[in-house]
Every structure is written in C-alpha cells, then in structure tokens.
C-alpha cells in the first residue's frame, strides 16, 4: 500500500466560441494561441462541471463516493462568495455526511493548493481517500481584453491508499508580493487587470521559474529527467516561453497543452493539463506540474507514473473525448448565456 493518485477525470462543456466570432464583434481576439474556447451551457457552472469531472475520477479510481473522507473544491468562479459548495459536490457524488469539505478560492493556483492539501490529508493518516476537484469559468466584463481568453473546464483527482497510478514525489513553492496583474475586489463580479502585459508576464515567469527551480534543486533533478512539463495555460504562448527559459523542450510541453481549444480554465488549467498528460504517460515516466496565482504564488509538483496507469486507460471519458464533442455558438448567444447582456 502506498499513497498517491488513484484516478482522475476531466470535464469540458460542449459549447465553443471561436476566434472568428470575437474578431467579428471586436475586430480582434486578444488571446494569443487560442483558437476556440469552451463555454458552460445555460444550466452549468463551476459546481456542475466539478461534479461531472469528479464522477469520472471516482469511476476511474474505482473508489465509491461513500468511502471518501475529504472533498475539496478549487475555483475562482464559485457561484457563491460565501456558502460552501464542496458540500453541494459531496452530496451530488453520494459522499457520506462525515466528510471533510473545503473550498479553495480567490486564486488560479487554488487547484494545486487543494491537490497538495488532499495529499497531506491522506499522508498524515487523517483519512483514507480524498477527492480534489478544480473547476473554473473565469468572468470579466465583455468590453475588457482580459475577458477574451477566459474559457472553462474541470479536473478531479482521487488520492489515497491503494495501488496508485501516479505518486507525488515532492513539491516546492514560491511566493512574491505582487499586485495589479489580475484581481477582483470584494463585491465585484469582473476580474480586472491594470493592463500592463509585460509586467504581468514578467511576474508569471519569475514566480513559476522560482518554484520550478526550487523543486529541481530539492529533488536533484534536471529538466531532462522529466518526460512532461505542465504549466498554467493563461494563453497559448507564455507556457512555451517559461518552458524554454527553464531548459525544457517544446516536446515536453506540447502533450499538456489544451488552452488553444478550451481557453483559460483558471484553477483547473494545470490539472486538466496533468490529466491530459497522464492519458498518454507510460509507467516509469515523470511529470512536472506548476501552477500560478496572481498576487502571487506558484506550486511545482514532481509526479512519477506507475505501472497501474496502464490498467485504467480508456475507462472513463477523457479530455480528448470531451474535445471531440462540441457545438459552436455565436458571440451574441455567448453574451446571453454568460449573462453579459
């Protein structure tokens, strides 16, 4: 028996809006490297997306929801500013009322925060199984350029005791006090930026590089020791820059990249990337995952892929399946279902 990832799942809503629709409406699409993005349907939000990703993860792990001891939800777009929603997810999954619930909010790095806390929960012996789900559909005023890349998606991981398909080797983190790149004040609905792209990019690069370097130093590993690197995908261009600056090849990054088809999925972004990589990873391979949250912070996690991964391949719908099932909508319908008009 060891502790690690027993199963994972994703969910991507089927509605898509493409670059051409934005160009028709605004004359531009301020989202480098994004061709189209996923849009939650009229009856979807970060909670409903989390439930479907979580069901996939539980089926993948073959863990019954009643066995869960913790349900953690990470999002910047919880429908409630105050009121637990991990409780809603726990009940929808059929978890026992005797379960530790927590909502991780207010940062796009909350997905890895929750994943690491879930691992610590089981590693410390306080419970046998934890489910962590990151689900996001960031929102900004349609007139602001920061809105353009905002997409949607969810990922979920079941961690616990058993025969894990992947184990967390180690993690390290970085933080730096920063402001003005991406924020939302209390009572505001729209994410804002002061709109200085070079400043925003420099902060993301600096913070993510710090956590990645710290992890490499701590584990004594080189970039070439990793088969895959997964980075936060706010657009389709910056991850390549960060990978290159840290000594990683494009080939290590490409398998995780999904932002060109779903847009910026906030807290879910690095975890959907991880799920996508695990879909094609082979036993013995190693993955580095890094997150980023404005303000600013970053977690870097080293993950070893185990033999067990082979057995559950194709057992539940994958990112690829969800990407294939899509329906395009126009910009006016997009504004309507996002309740922007």
């Amino acid at each position: 028996m060891s502790i690690g990832i027993l199963g994972y799942g994703v969910y991507i809503p089927r509605y898509r809006i493409n670059r051409a629709e934005y160009i028709k409406a605004w004359g531009q699409f301020a989202a480098a490297g994004i061709e189209e993005k996923a849009v939650p349907g009229v009856d979807e939000d970060s909670i409903t997306m989390a439930v479907e990703a979580s069901r996939n993860a539980l089926n993948h792990a073959k863990v019954d929801a009643s066995k869960l001891n913790a349900v953690y939800f990470a999002s910047t777009s919880s429908p409630y500013a105050e009121k637990l929603v991990s409780s809603t997810i726990a009940m929808a999954l059929g978890a026992s009322p005797r379960v530790s619930v927590a909502d991780f909010t207010s940062s796009t790095m909350a997905g890895t925060s929750a994943l690491l806390m879930g691992l610590d929960f089981v590693a410390s012996g306080r419970g046998h199984f934890a489910l962590i789900t990151a689900s996001d559909c960031p929102y900004a005023d349609p007139g602001e350029l920061i809105e353009h890349p905002f997409g949607a998606g969810a990922a979920a991981f079941v961690v616990g005791e058993g025969t894990p398909m992947a184990t967390i080797e180690d993690s390290d983190s970085a933080t730096i006090e920063a402001f003005g790149e991406r924020f939302r004040k209390h009572g505001e609905k729209s994410v804002e930026t002061l709109g200085i792209p070079s400043y925003t990019e420099a902060l993301i690069i600096k913070t993510v590089t710090s956590s990645v370097k710290a992890l490499l130093n701590k584990t004594g590993r080189k970039p070439s020791d990793f088969n895959f690197i997964v980075l936060p995908q706010f657009d389709g261009r910056l991850p390549s820059t960060i990978a290159r600056m840290n000594g990683f090849e494009e080939a290590q990054l490409i398998p995780s990249m999904i932002v060109s088809q779903i847009g910026d999925a906030g807290t879910a972004s690095p975890l959907i990337g991880l799920a996508k990589v695990l879909d094609e990873a082979k036993p013995g391979q190693r993955v580095l995952v890094a997150s980023y949250g404005a303000g600013a912070g970053s977690d870097a996690v080293s993950i070893n892929v185990n033999e067990e991964i082979v057995k559950r391949k194709g057992a539940v719908p994958s990112a690829k399946d969800y990407l294939a099932d899509k329906k395009y909508i126009d910009y006016v319908y997009y504004l309507k279902i996002k309740k922007m008009i």
Partner: protein, 144 residues
Amino acid sequence: MAHVSIPSYWKTLPQRYCLIGMKCKNCGTINFPARAICISCKQKTEFESKRLSGRGKIYSYTIIAAGSAPPEFSEQEKLTGSFPIAIVELEEGVRTVAQLTDYEPEDLKIEAEVEAVFRKIYEEDKIIRYGLKFRPVKKTKPPP
C-alpha cells in the same frame, strides 16, 4: 411545476441530487421518489435506500413552447426559447420526469438512451436550485 419552498426542496435533495430511491423490503420494487406505501404491493412496509444508475431511455417527451414555462423557468426560457421535458424510464424500471439538456433536435426520440447529469435547474430567492437533467448518451464515450 409549481413553486417549491426552500425547506421542501431541501428535504428532497437525495432524490434530486443523486437519484436515491427506496426499495420495498416486502416485494423488492423500487419506489422513486420515496413513498409511504409501496406502489407495487401497496403495503406499508420497510424500505431501504437504493441509488439509481441514472441510465435510461426516453419513454416520452414534450416541448415546453416559448411563453408557456412555469415562472421559475422563465429565465432559462428567455435564453433558449422552448425546451424539452421527458419521461425517462430508468434501467431499474422506474420512470421520472426531467428536462433534457445538451441535445440536438435529432436526439429527441422515444427509446433514445439518456444519462443523468447534475445541472442548475433554476434560481429563486437568490438560491441556485441544483438537480438532475438527462442528456443523450454519446456512442463515442464509455459509460460514466
């Protein structure tokens, strides 16, 4: 559907969120939603809860035309126009009524396979009411 108060909705969450039915200990029939007297053997017996799979087939359906939706669904109607409601026969043999979602017009067929998904049903008094809808089963995907 008429107005359902918050406490009434709350009391029925197990059936609304995760299809918890009641299996009659006398005759084995699954009652969904829960009842005081078994629908099959008509006995006032003991029940045990049983979670239904959420897989089933469209038994029948109708379209709620624009303008005819109950008030709690008017927000949805404003966005999508008309929307379909189905009687779904679950694989455990019980029938339930719910909205269909993520469908194309050609998916609306009697006997079409559907699966339950957790969705927003409507919002009232600032509270989002969640519950289950059904969507067509995609042949390309393994069962959930």
